[in-house]
Structure formats: structure tokens, C-alpha cells
Assembly symmetry: C2
DNA sequence: ACCTGAACACCGTTCAAGT
DNA sequence: ACCTGAACACCGTTCAAGT
């Protein structure tokens, strides 16, 4: 785990020949954009070994600066994690909204036309797919212990946006008579618990024990099970 | 947070009089049952500040021994966490089985008599209640990063037992025609994801954001929503 | 204004030496 | 057989001093 190699992604401005006359800039004393580089290094560390694998010192090492340098840009490790989480949350939100755009309100393949429950399903599916593909990044935005959620304005913002989106979609579904329960809040919390729990079971390594090999396929299956469970069925009383 | 108090639970084997005739035991060189005391100290630390708050050194401090002493009983911090997780998992299982015993197979209050789906619900409810009341202990048995799940025989054993119990109950429910889906495995995984997700949302501090004040009440509500969703309804096709 | 490098108080872990 | 206490290699964080 000890890596003294400098990351290849850091831009070294030409070759820092040391002593020779035509030597340009032997590694500038002032870093170009250390803040950004540190976030990228931390994101990489998260991807490699999960949030616990992020250390300020290692990020500094990869950025090619001294152990104390990061503290000029982030008051604490938590603040760095915060910035990383904001980045991850932004990507998460972007992907979900993109996926939803591909399942537009009036999808002729869906029945009925303007199918909000179908969009709710797309939302959940995009959520699960991203979480399956980016488990460590999902972990950092979900678990609070890496930073102070309440202080993380960006994360909260993007997250609240997604919650609102789900809420509106669910309200539409209810307005169109697609739901059997009128307690939308509970339906939404249950839905969230389902996808959150599935994503977390993946992160926490429970799938081998449960015999889940095809995580994405199972994700879709349990989502459908849930959607059918909340849908109003012809012949069902209420 | 630094406690140098010795635990009162340790049995001191008689008095090793040191210098003065009536001198009361200046701490025996050999600890009575250090292994047990370390686990208890760690359990306490988990309860106080979550699994991350457990350090071998602090456990040693609370046990009144030197920093290296624990390593005579546990090869690593992970091994200590493992023992702690086994203890927590044992309690978890005991509580769930106790709760199920109170909702016996033939509960006259339930309809139909011998109501396996009702018992499945009781199972989920007991799961959720324990997780709500013991969030830090739930965390240590659910998250894999504190120890090697596959090497943790005791934890896996107790957990597998609970999984089997849920599986059998669900199979009975299906046999009695209480379920609308025949894919029991998916129903069980969905159910697990739901309760696991709800428990984890609690641990991860998401409930304030979701406006969930009464965690236990909401837990019961979403569980009922799920149970209704998987139940066969008169008039529903299949 | 930004970075270095030494320092401090913590960890987990090892190991000779003590009892 | 079990424990001590010093050591080592790590952390996060601070701070004078350098550029």
C-alpha cells in the first residue's frame, strides 16, 4: 500500500532539469491548482480502496507536496472528504437526470401514455445502476461519517433535488390513479429504503452470502417487485 | 474520553500483598480474563461512538493493561472487532427469535390461523426494532470493513440461521397461497434490502433529512406497505 | 500568498525483557 | 504463560520558517 511513485496524471511542466543552464522550472514551488489536484487524488483513492483509504498524507504525496500543504486548502480531512462527496454527488445526480431524460414523460412504449410510475421506476433503476457501478463513490455520499452532512451544502443540495424529483413523480403517479396507497411519503421512504439497502448490501459485501451474482439484474427484479406492490391493480379494492 | 478507571467486573484472584501487611492488591500482573474484558470494553466503545471509536489502545487502557497486551489475545484489531461482532450478532439473533416466539404459529388474533406471512412480518419488525435501538451494534455486524466476514464463523452462522428462518417462513406463506409472486428468493432479497436499507438510513443519519421523527413507527409502516405489496389479494390476477 | 519540514499527539503492531 | 514498555511506521494537524 505504500506508494512513493508520483501520479502520472499530475502535469509536470516540461522536464525539470536541475542544474543545467537552460533549466526551466524545477517543479514550481507554488502548485498550479493544488485544491483541484488533491480532490482528484482523493477521488482516485476512494475508487481504489473506498473512503477509508483516503488519507491527507497520501493525497499530498500523489500531488507531490508536503504533508502540511493540503491544510492550506482544506481545514481538515473531513473538509477534503466533503469536497470529494460533492463531486461524487454531482456525478450521481447528473447520471440519474440523464437516464430520466431518456425515459421521457410521453414514452409511446409505455402504457399509459405519460406514465409517471414508469418514470419513478426509471429513477430507481438509474439509482441502482449507478450505485452498482460506483460502489465506493456511492458509499462516500451515503455514509455520514466521512463529513458533516449538514454542513455539506453542495451534497445536500443535489440530494434534495433528487428527493424532490422522486416526490413530484410519485405525486403525478398518484394523481393519475396509478398508486394504491395515498400515503406518498411512506411509499417514497419505503422505495428509498429499498434501493438504499440494496446498494448498501452491495457495498457491505453481502451479495455472495445471498447468492446474488448478477447484481444489476437482481436490482431490476426487486425494483419491479416493489413497483408492482405499490401499483393499483384492477380488481384490487384500494 | 480518556478513562484510566479499572473495570469493576474483573475478578482479582485473592490479594497479592505487596509491601505493607494489610495492603490491598496493587493490580495483579496477570489479568483475570483479559480477553473477555477487552471485548466488553470494545462493546462499550462501539455503543459510545460507533465502530470507528474502537481502538485497541483505548480498550487496553480501559482494561488497565499496556498497549501491547491485547495482542496476546487477538492477533489484530480486526480480530477484536470480529469477537465484538459475534457478540452483537448473537444478541441480535436472540432478540429476533424471542420476538418470533411471542408471535407463534397459531396466533388466534391473526387471520388466517397459522399465518406465516404474519410471522414474516414479525420477523421484519423485530429486525427493525433491534436495529433502531442498537444502531452502533447493528453497524458493526452489517458493515464488512471491520473484519473479514468470511472468516467470522460465528457471525456467519447466526446470520445464516436468520436467513434460513426467513426463507422457511416465506416458503410456508407461499404454500398457503399468501404470496402473489412465486419467486421467493427475490421476495426475500427485496425484503432484506428494505429492512437493511431502513436500518442503514438510520445509522447513516438520513432521517432528519427525510423528516422521519418516529423511526420505529415509520419502520412498521413501510414494513406493512411491503407486506401488502407481496401479499396475494382477492381479485388480483397472479 | 503558498509551501516546506519538523514537531506533536495519536494509532496498530512487534518484541525483547520482565514476572 | 502472560504482561510491560520501548520501539517502529504510520496517521491528522500545527506552525515557524522559507520562497
Amino acid at each position: 500500500m505504500r506508494s512513493s511513485a508520483k501520479p502520472p496524471s499530475v502535469k509536470l511542466p516540461a522536464k525539470p532539469l536541475r542544474r543545467t543552464a537552460r533549466a526551466p522550472a524545477p517543479k514550481p514551488y507554488h502548485h498550479g491548482d493544488l485544491r483541484r489536484v488533491l480532490i482528484d487524488a482523493a477521488l482516485q483513492l476512494v475508487g481504489e480502496g473506498g473512503p477509508d483509504a483516503v488519507s491527507v498524507r497520501e493525497a499530498a504525496r500523489r500531488a507531490g507536496v508536503s504533508p502540511g500543504a493540503p491544510f492550506r486548502h482544506f481545514p481538515s480531512r473531513d473538509a477534503l472528504m466533503n469536497a470529494v462527496a460533492e463531486e461524487a454527488q454531482r456525478r450521481f445526480r447528473a447520471e440519474i437526470e440523464a437516464a430520466l431524460a431518456e425515459a421521457p414523460a410521453n414514452n409511446p412504449a409505455n402504457n399509459p401514455p405519460n406514465n409517471p410510475l414508469g418514470r419513478f421506476r426509471s429513477l430507481g433503476l438509474a439509482y441502482l445502476r449507478w450505485a452498482m457501478k460506483n460502489p465506493t463513490h456511492f458509499e462516500i455520499i451515503s455514509s455520514r461519517r466521512f463529513f458533516d452532512h449538514d454542513k455539506a451544502a453542495g451534497v445536500s443540495q443535489d440530494n434534495a433535488e433528487l428527493i424532490d424529483l422522486a416526490e413530484r413523480t410519485l405525486a403525478e403517479a398518484f394523481a393519475q390513479g396509478q398508486l394504491r396507497s395515498a400515503d406518498l411519503k411512506q411509499v417514497q421512504i419505503a422505495g428509498r429504503a429499498l434501493v438504499y439497502g440494496f446498494a448498501r448490501m452491495n457495498i457491505d459485501g453481502h451479495f455472495p452470502r445471498w447468492g446474488v451474482a448478477d447484481a444489476e439484474g437482481t436490482a431490476e427484479a426487486i425494483l419491479d417487485l416493489f413497483i408492482e406492490g405499490i401499483a393499483k391493480v384492477p380488481g384490487r379494492s384500494a
